[in-house]
Point group: C2
């Protein structure tokens, strides 16, 4: 019998058919490594949830095989879940300097930075992870120091783009290493895994540098304070604000915890540069005239607790918005945040600020490649097989269509789902089986302790509130000795609904009487009879369905 041929397995555990929590496992024989490990934002129906992280059961079950974790850049959706995962998984983490600098800060917040083996790499470095050689390739994205990966495996080379755009004029450092990608393409690439985030956008994504030009124009005409909100991690954007401030002789103050944290790391590592004495403490702003000040802040998504939202609503301790302030929101709304941003903009206008936001000027560019860039990368790599990554199903599907139009046969394109396993040899690829994958919900200190039943109850409570009915019954006789007492929250004002409350008591009593023939201590039957009677009555009366909690105490 011929020995079974070994295959490369690639298993996305997140980031497929969804935005965020990007993580992919590469496995061959006894070796395994992981690319990225990010968080996702909770969906609208995940009430009270702080974060969503990937289910990494498959990785922890194969602990002894895991040779390391490779991270492509420092965004939350690529590194944010590592503090949770690295508590149980003691393996080295490889990434570029800024990426690991940001990760280290995160690990410190979680109190585990001492226990993690962080290994800094540079673009063009190649590391060995078991049978894999992982090559880091300089890339460009909305965060500095991002990389693509060429993963050299026993069955061929896999190129994973990470998140990228093709920026020929990046703010610092060099453009994406297209030459190396072309070289890899010429040598032959088995599989390309490419970022699908912006596949719906025709044309090219503009260079980050264009934003700087807009900033200069705005700064030139500004006569009062300038307040700029952007993503904390967009170090290049912040550098451009700094550059404009230098040119127009303004001091910089920084607001918002994550902005301060990232700026600190980026300055320490040399990714954010400003002249001595330019950065002032936010407490000092009153000492400078308005036309000499720029405040860089978090809150570009209108997050209710962010510095900008608090300034807009008048709740910020250090910054009061006054008429004449110029506020620039240098970001696009992440889908779902349109209304919170709109609220902040309205509040700022009400306070007399001038506000420059989306679509009013070129104050933001995306960090992801548009269609023509995706075509370019594909054409340089000329892979045998293709997997679109990072996106909802529609993005993956449209990326598949785009590559199909470029000549890739449909049967060589694989739209994956999390947990699905694709097996590759030198000349074949097929989806074969699946492993555990999914969402783990983080709520406060709890990781994974909130599941569907808890969420369903929160949803129910959020819609119509609840009614608690308490009755104390004498165990021996079955007689009611106290109650029914009614407590209601989130349903109706009890004080304004005395008749309703009396009715509820009466219906409870009637329901109890109905049960008298039943076994007198069968509390669960009694409770469900009370619950049913009240549910019908309340829906009839109010067309609402509060949660009904009958409690029977026995004395």
């Amino acid at each position: 019998m011929a020995k079974k041929k070994k295959k490369l397995k690639i298993i996305p555990l997140g980031g497929m058919g969804e935005i965020g929590k990007n993580i992919t496992v590469f496995e061959y024989d006894e070796d395994m490594f992981v690319v990225d490990c990010g968080v996702a934002f909770p969906e609208d129906d995940m009430l009270g949830i702080d974060l969503v992280i990937p289910d990494v059961t498959y990785i922890t079950k194969n602990y002894e095989k895991v040779r390391g974790i490779v991270v492509t850049h420092g965004h939350e959706d690529h590194i944010g879940a590592l503090p949770y995962i690295l508590k149980d998984l003691k393996v080295p983490v490889y990434g570029t300097r800024l990426t690991l600098g940001l990760l280290e800060q995160k690990l410190e917040e979680h109190g585990i930075s001492k226990n993690v083996d962080l290994r800094v790499v540079k673009p063009s470095d190649v590391i060995n992870l078991g049978c894999f050689k992982v090559e880091f390739i300089r890339s460009t994205h909305s965060i500095a120091d991002s990389v693509a990966l060429a993963i050299h495996t026993p069955v061929g080379t896999v190129v994973h783009t990470g998140d990228f755009k093709i920026d020929y004029t990046p703010i610092e450092g060099q453009p994406m290493d297209l030459a190396r990608l072309a070289e890899l393409g010429n040598k032959g690439v088995l599989l390309l895994m490419s970022d699908s985030t912006n596949v719906e956008r025709p044309g090219y994504t503009m260079s980050e540098r264009t934003v700087g030009e807009t900033f200069e124009e705005i700064f030139m005409n500004a006569r009062k304070r300038i307040i700029i909100a952007t993503f904390a991690s967009n170090v290049h954007r912040i550098q451009q604000v700094v550059n404009a401030a230098i040119k127009f002789n303004r001091k910089i103050a920084i607001c918002g915890r994550s902005m301060i944290n990232v700026a600190k790391v980026a300055m320490n590592l040399g990714y954010l540069n400003m002249p001595e004495g330019m950065l002032i403490d936010i407490d000092q702003i009153s000492k400078y005239p308005d036309e000499r000040l720029v405040i860089i802040t978090t809150g570009s998504q209108g997050e209710p607790m962010s510095a900008l939202a608090r300034m807009a609503s008048g709740d910020h301790k250090k910054v009061d918005i006054v008429p004449g302030d110029l506020v620039i929101i240098s970001a696009s709304p992440i889908p779902g945040n349109e209304k919170t941003i709109s609220k902040v903009v309205n509040d700022l206008f009400r306070k007399g600020a001038e506000v420059i936001y989306e679509s009013l000027a070129d104050i933001h560019v995306s960090g992801h490649a548009s269609q023509e860039e995706l075509k370019l990368i594909y054409s340089l790599i000329k892979p045998k097989f293709f997997i679109p990554v990072h996106g909802e199903f529609r993005h993956l599907k449209r990326h598949a269509n785009l590559v199909n139009e470029l000549g890739m046969p449909s049967e060589n394109i694989f739209i994956m789902d999390i947990g699905k396993v694709i097996e590759l040899t030198e000349d074949s690829a097929r989806i074969n089986g699946s492993v555990t994958a999914g969402k783990v919900l983080v709520d406060g200190l709890g990781v994974g302790d909130v599941g569907n039943i808890v969420l369903r109850d929160r949803k129910h409570l959020s819609q119509d509130g609840l009614i608690v009915i308490v009755i104390t019954i004498e165990g021996d006789t079955g007689n009611v000795v106290a109650g029914p007492d009614i407590i209601s929250r989130g349903f109706v004002y009890v004080r304004e609904s005395e008749d309703l409350i009396e009715e509820i008591k009466e219906i409870t009593r009637q329901a109890l009487q109905k049960c008298e023939n039943k076994r007198k201590n069968d509390w669960s039957t009694k409770k469900s009879i009370i619950r049913d009677a009240l549910r019908d009555y309340l829906y009839e009366k109010t067309k609402r369905r509060p949660m009904i909690l009958p409690i029977i105490m026995e004395v």
Copy 2:
């Protein structure tokens, strides 16, 4: 002493500094009338709320002055609150045929159509409402039969645009009556109140007709079923689907309650025309080949219970999406709906449908005027005073800026807020005082019975759930005779948190012991000591803040 000069009062009770629930009161001496009376969607923090309607206390308090209600068009945000208001307010309602046709259907659903005096008007009609003459002016918008108003008052003429765009090639009927607006402008207009919805968009809004051209192209190339989702009220859009279906020999089936309702009214009144035998019942679709079918459906906003969302998730009773189906979402996302639409698009793609949605083709145009159209109307009317209407604060502010750039002095422009009163004479205008105004929340059958405390409780419950602690105490002795029993919902799984539950019981017992020195029947002190102790413990342990409900029963 000179007799005090009478003034025209204009009081917006909704639609200012907010999207939706448009309603404005016009008052002069002993006469009053109302323009529009719409609903708004609940905001994100109004958990469980179905609808928001305006607080019309000021109108009901002045019942004897109210000469009538005038409605400009049949959209929900202009007529949707009338069924609630007209229960108490017996005054005639004036509007065009389609507008009142749609309103009548609504009143029937609320069981009050018999009691309401609906009076149909045509464009160019003038009605007398006390000292006011209200003239209806043909307009164009994303619903047929919309009008602007010229309100002739003792102090001058007020032009209210209603919602509008300037469509030179509307689908049916004639373009907006610009000639009459120009004539009014030449005679002199005291005040212009103009739609601000699209003030952020440069240029012109495209004609509705351009969508029909796109439909024809799409229909020409389609080989299977076509499913089109759009707003039920957009009769012109539906007519264009019908026209394309006629041209390419397809039958029409209609899906979704509101779509069926509106189509019925529009067909009865002659606003929607199709050849005999073209409309088929949704139950009959299996009898026709795919390439002979168009299904028009609700759900263009991805509403979870809508027909399209149910088709996408496989829950629709009559329509199964199959590979090859072409789905067109002919609408823009209303801010806040991006994620629900995205979910529907993903689900449709997963089922193998082709989906054409926003930004992929010219399959939707707005119903509201862009900047150049707003300038045109302003320039024709040349009013003495200006009030931007219909929009959030930022829209009103930008509309004010736009008109200011056209030469109107800032002091003649008034950004209003709901409840604020503006008083006008022939040559003056000033904001003077305010009246009751606000939001009334509709939840099930309850109108106004859910307020801030109930909403705050729903919010609290939605985030971290609740814990109920029940103890039965002997009144005479103060001894605990049953409990503490713990019930938790939306907090943690009780079964997986037995230790935590035991801890909660123990802390409750300790808290009770601490109270022993207090008056033994002071339940409220006891409850608050239990609540405080548990709150601190649970936050320390879980970083969550469930609602804590201690209940003490006395026997």
